[in-house]
Symmetry: C2
Subunit: 438 residues, 2 copies
């Protein structure tokens, strides 16, 4: 392939290790990634330019690059250049240069993406925001932090566009109706419309009282701050693989609720009133409330499900939004649909928001199993007007499924916006928008 040739001809300390992360041959599945587009390739002159803008932060050492070339899904990419700017100005100069040179760029924050969106597909330059972690100021009256952006999203922000121009929408106002809302366009755009370099975050006052309960069903008022669920099939790997004990009776479903409020006495009363009602209802079998020491332990039952499932072998992960009353039906239908082809089919997630994490495990990667899961899961979701990506965005892996959740005209408009903001398409190519629009 031409990119293999490219690696061989580039004068560098390149070690073949990049080609063998996890022992697997790192060929992007033909079904997954489109052909490499005719972007320019990095030259020694390019490296010299970057080194001038960000000396010591232009990285070509493959050992260091490896962490940025591999994501949590073990997708592997082939970037040979990792840039670590610290300021908006540096990002602006870098992007302006890349745009003029037609060099593709993959912005990367914490590299925690789950849809192949946070690593390059081919040899895109990795633009890491890892060093953009300065708090510019904190306003204790309003509770607002202004900081440079270590992660690829949040709030009102400063953005650098594909051609290097800086778009300043950094404001600290809760209400502003002057013109169109551009900020929201960039949030969740997965680095394809611009690079966010500074944000303002509003921090609510730390609540005086936090309570965590683990039970069957739930409904609290203004103090409810979390409402999560997991099913019996999640408890199994928690018990088996992580040796975490079930603090209550075996049940088909478990709910973790958390309250946060300004008056501990009131919150405890509310919580106990609720628990009394819940426990006497036929829908709650058992429950427990954590004292401060045990809050972490209770939460870990919900938070470590992902980790527990990895011990089954390989996990196919889906992040779906559904009308709340349908949130578990997808799990049962999938279980029935797959029969014994899967090791485990589990459901957990942010039930308060209608957000299901459907996970299917298998001893190893299994293309036949995958073919049974997809497009079944997307068609099912679309049938009930759900979202095929509640939180994780589309990245590389889900870009072509966007039509299951968005109308063609909406997608066409997104394409127009992309073209308008990044005419050369250098920002995180191959992602978010479907191939027919790239």
């Amino acid at each position: 392939r031409h990119y293999t040739t490219r690696i061989e001809t580039l004068a560098s300390n390149h070690v073949p290790r990049l080609l063998h992360a996890g022992g697997e041959r790192p060929t992007p599945s033909p079904a997954a990634a489109p052909e490499r587009r005719p972007f320019s390739r990095v030259t020694p002159e390019d490296l010299a330019f970057f080194s001038k803008i960000i000396p010591d932060r232009t990285i070509t050492d493959p050992d260091i690059l490896e962490a940025s070339n591999v994501d949590w899904l073990k997708s592997v990419s082939f970037s040979e250049v990792l840039l670590r700017p610290q300021t908006t100005e540096e990002v602006s100069q870098i992007l302006g240069y890349c745009n003029s040179r037609n060099l593709a760029v993959s912005p990367q924050g914490g590299n925690t993406g789950l849809v192949g969106g946070s690593v390059p597909v081919y040899d895109e330059i990795i633009l890491s925001t890892a060093l953009m972690n300065n708090v510019l100021n904190f306003d204790s009256v309003s509770g607002q932090y202004r900081l440079t952006a270590p992660i690829l999203c949040v709030c009102i922000c400063v953005k650098v566009l594909a051609d290097g121009r800086v778009l300043d929408c950094l404001a600290t106002l809760r209400k502003d109706n002057t013109g169109y809302d551009l900020k929201q366009l960039f949030i969740g755009s997965e680095g394809t419309l611009g690079v966010i370099t500074a944000v303002t975050i509003l921090c609510p006052r730390k609540p005086k009282a936090i309570n965590v309960g683990f039970l069957g069903r739930c409904m609290l008022g203004e103090i409810l701050s979390a409402f999560e669920f997991l099913d019996r099939e999640c408890m199994r790997p928690l018990n088996t693989h992580l040796k975490l004990a079930n603090p209550i009776t075996d049940c088909p479903f478990y709910v973790v609720i958390e309250t946060s409020g300004s008056n501990p006495t009131h919150d405890e009363e509310k919580l106990h009133q609720f628990l009394e009602e819940a426990m006497t209802s036929s829908q709650v079998i058992d429950g427990t409330v954590a004292t401060e020491a045990k809050i972490k332990a209770l939460w870990s039952l919900r938070e470590r499900v992902t980790e527990a499932l990895t011990h089954d072998g390989f996990t196919y992960k889906y992040d779906i939004s559904l009308p709340v009353e349908r949130i578990y039906q997808l799990v049962t239908d999938m279980r029935e649909h797959l029969g014994d082809r899967a090791k485990s089919v589990v459901g957990y997630g942010h039930v308060g928001d209608g957000n299901l994490h459907l996970n299917i495990t298998s001893p190893t990667k299994d293309p036949d199993l995958l073919a049974s899961i997809e497009p079944f899961v997307y068609e099912w979701t679309a049938r009930f007007q759900g979202s095929i990506s509640a939180e994780h965005c589309l990245g590389l892996k889900k870009r072509n499924y966007i039509y299951y959740s968005k109308a063609s005209l909406a997608v066409a408009l997104m394409g127009n916006i992309k073209t308008m903001l990044d005419p050369k398409g250098i920002l995180n190519p191959y992602k978010t928008l479907p191939d027919d629009l790239q």
Copy 2:
């Protein structure tokens, strides 16, 4: 002027009354509105087309048109056609036709705008959503109303674009990260990017307990549902013009707070704890809490300020966002700046959100006074990175001030988005975006 000629030549029951709302000659101030752009003019064939699409809801009767041609600021326009569609399909056909005929359209909801944005400037066709007031369904589990759109904004929605294409983003999901967020672009776009024809609104459960207090300063926790202020200069017209009595001692500032919660006993305890602290502090002089019967009376002290001020003569109204600690400084600086040129300079508003309503009264409209107020008020706001329009949008009146609150590049991008979505510029022309972009 050519539009006067146009009115005379159109065969209709046109009555000259349109030209004399409020007894004033209704010429748009040259400083306010740009020249009429070369849109087509309505012909009998156009009327015939509309009558075919929406029989009996194509209105040319000037008596009926008058209400839609005049807004709260007594801006007067000259539309001769008022259309009242009932469905998305009708809106789609109307806009598709207008786009092909190059006929300008002013979408109109409740006509309550305060920036000249809700009425035409010249003879634009008024597209009223007044009859689009059907509840399509209500989901009692999620608390979501789906309805056609009697007002020109809210939530996740269906939009009809300038050329008649229907953009369906109607969803009932709290979390959805599939592609770019287009919805937010349209919200607050003042009818210049598309016409919203259906929305889904999430209704929180009615709180079990509401308390309203009127006092000097405030900070409550998760049950705080409103936090408004008004100054002593607002109390004067309330007392004098509306005969509303001050329920407490004369103070420089008054605050109305409201709590909403799920447990009346808890909320009362929180409120009284807060009041005890507040009253013993040096910052609160006096206060009162409303029993249910008196809640309305307390709220009216805040809600009728606008009305009370109209009795002074003429009001210049400004809707500003500022860092909370500066929210009143603009009022004092303006008062000092104007000296005795104004009758009254008052401040009130949503202090919890940093949103000030600055109002300046005068016995009559006074261009010299206006010249002292503007651009002083906008320059002052810009100096502290405030918003020159927190809630009311820009409309006609504030379109050229957008640069006080938005960077040039941001405004340029808005222009690109406008051109992309409405290439002929037929949707609510002359508004929102500054003249150099229209």
